[in-house]
């Protein structure tokens, strides 16, 4: 057949297939393996690769989510800390104000009390002085009469005259302003 096409008989040697069924079997075998891979093997592999990629991505996503949560928590914590600090400051301020008020109140009360006590003491002293001065007045009259009778002697034994003189003297005494102290 070949010699009919070519004027010269060419011996291709090992480059010529022995028969067409070699080519056919080569083609069919390769084709069948290709089909086997395309139909049965590769889909499973691709599925596995996809699943693996998905899981890795899922893992990354999970980690990202955890990171976001952790960030949120940290922020919340920081906020809480900040608010707690603020609260403490407020309480401290309030305490300061309260303390100041209490001190003020105490001082006022003390002042009031002391004023009251001073007034009371003054009043008492006044009363005592009144009592003492009225007692003294009686005693001073007697003493003065005694002294005068001793000095003038019998001349002043006349009761009526003496009484007048003593009254005059006591009136003069009463007219005088009370001695201070």
């Amino acid at each position: 057949m070949l010699s009919a096409l070519c004027p010269l008989e060419i011996n291709l040697g090992p480059l010529a297939p022995h028969n067409i069924f070699e080519v056919a079997i080569g083609l069919v075998t390769a084709g069948l393996i290709w089909f086997g891979f395309a139909k049965f093997i590769s889909p499973n592999f691709e599925k596995m690769y996809q699943e693996r990629a998905r899981q890795i991505e899922g893992g990354i996503e999970l980690a990202e989510k955890a990171q976001v949560e952790a960030d949120a928590l940290r922020e919340q914590y920081a906020e809480q800390l900040a608010s707690a600090g603020g609260e403490a400051n407020a309480i401290r301020d309030q305490a300061k104000v309260q303390a100041a008020t209490i001190i003020e109140q105490a001082r006022e009360q003390a002042t009031r009390e002391s004023t009251r006590m001073v007034e009371q003491a003054k009043a008492q002293i006044e009363t005592e002085r009144e009592v003492v001065s009225s007692q003294l007045r009686g005693e001073v009259g007697t003493l003065a009469t005694t002294l005068a009778s001793k000095i003038v002697g019998e001349s002043l034994e006349d009761d009526a005259r003496a009484k007048r003189a003593v009254d005059r003297f006591l009136e003069q005494l009463a007219a005088q302003p009370a001695m201070k102290g």
């Binding site: 057949m1 040697g13 090992p14 480059l15 010529a16 297939p17 022995h18 028969n19 067409i20 069924f21 070699e22 080519v23 056919a24 079997i25 080569g26 083609l27 069919v28 075998t29 390769a30 084709g31 069948l32 393996i33 290709w34 086997g36 891979f37 395309a38 049965f40 093997i41 590769s42 499973n44 592999f45 691709e46 599925k47 596995m48 699943e51 693996r52 899981q55």
Partner: protein, 289 residues
């Protein structure tokens, strides 16, 4: 003097082994048959004729069974594991996932970019198929890289060809052929020159180079291993010269190195084959011409 101890020792050991393994006295050596095309022909297990020409004979032989077994092994290995995939890989899944992700991230995503996922099944299947069949060349029992038989390489390349043209049509519709043949930015008067070139490059050179590259590497690699093993074997067991016996043993030792290199080349070619397929798909679906 001291530095000579090790090489002299090695040579001494080789000589001793070569001497021990020497053929008996009076041995008439069989004629040396160098490795060649006959090492790539296999016994027909069954033949079904579909016509007069041997081109239409359906022959079941070792490479064909290898290819079919590789297909069954791959599906039997991947399907059960893919049904029990977990987010955190267990030990078998780790191994499978390593292969799968090597193609998915290392080839498909970097080459195709946007919307690469739908081309991953094709690229992974091509990669494991080519890798496994290449490594059959160094695997006990099989000891033959399936793609050193060009017919199977052509079959797989046809699938690649269909895949990247299909990807282009899926992306652009029938406009794909215009996109592929006349890259954007080319002035219209250059079209008669550019279009045949682009056609050659996109639809003929690509499958041709894919085929020749994979086939050639596997074929030559297998031949290289054979030269060391068959030649070494003949020298050790048939040659009557002690020097040749020793050299044959050295050749055996070196064949281990060659086999290690072959394992690497097998992986390299599978990777390259898949990478180029991915690049072709990328150029088919690209909008940035």
């Amino acid at each position: 003097m001291k530095r000579l101890v090790v090489p002299v020792g090695i040579v001494g050991v080789l000589v001793a082994i070569g001497w021990l393994l020497r053929p008996p006295a009076g041995h008439v050596p069989v004629e040396y048959e160098s490795p060649g095309m006959h090492d790539f022909e296999f016994h027909d297990l069954a033949v079904i004729h579909f016509g007069n020409s041997s081109a239409f004979d359906f022959v079941i032989n070792k490479p064909m069974l290898q290819l079919i077994i590789s297909g069954i092994l791959i599906l039997a290995f991947f399907i059960p594991i893919s049904r029990k995939l977990t987010i955190i890989p267990k030990k078998w899944q780790f191994c499978v996932e390593y292969i799968y992700d090597f193609v998915r991230s290392g080839i498909a995503r970097t080459s195709i970019g946007h919307n690469y996922e739908k081309h991953v099944p094709f690229l992974v299947s091509i990669f494991v198929l080519v890798l496994m069949n290449n490594w059959f060349g160094e695997f006990f029992y099989f000891m033959f890289p399936t793609f050193a038989n060009i017919g199977y390489t052509m079959g797989v390349v046809l699938v690649v060809w269909i895949a990247y043209i299909g990807a282009g049509i899926g992306e652009h519709g029938l406009k794909y052929f215009m996109v592929q043949l006349l890259p954007g930015g080319v002035p219209l008067w250059l079209a008669p020159l550019v279009m045949p070139l682009e056609f050659m490059s996109a639809f003929i050179t690509r499958p041709l180079t894919l085929t020749i590259r994979l086939f050639g590497n596997m074929f030559a690699g297998h031949l290289g291993v054979l030269v060391f093993v068959v030649g070494g074997g003949w020298l050790v067991s048939e040659s009557t010269s002690l020097l040749y016996n020793v050299a044959g043993f050295g050749s055996f030792a070196l064949s281990l190195l060659i086999i290690a290199i072959e394992l690497f080349i097998g992986f390299m070619q599978a990777y390259l084959f898949t990478l180029l397929s991915a690049n072709y798909i990328a150029s088919s679906v690209s909008h940035g011409h």
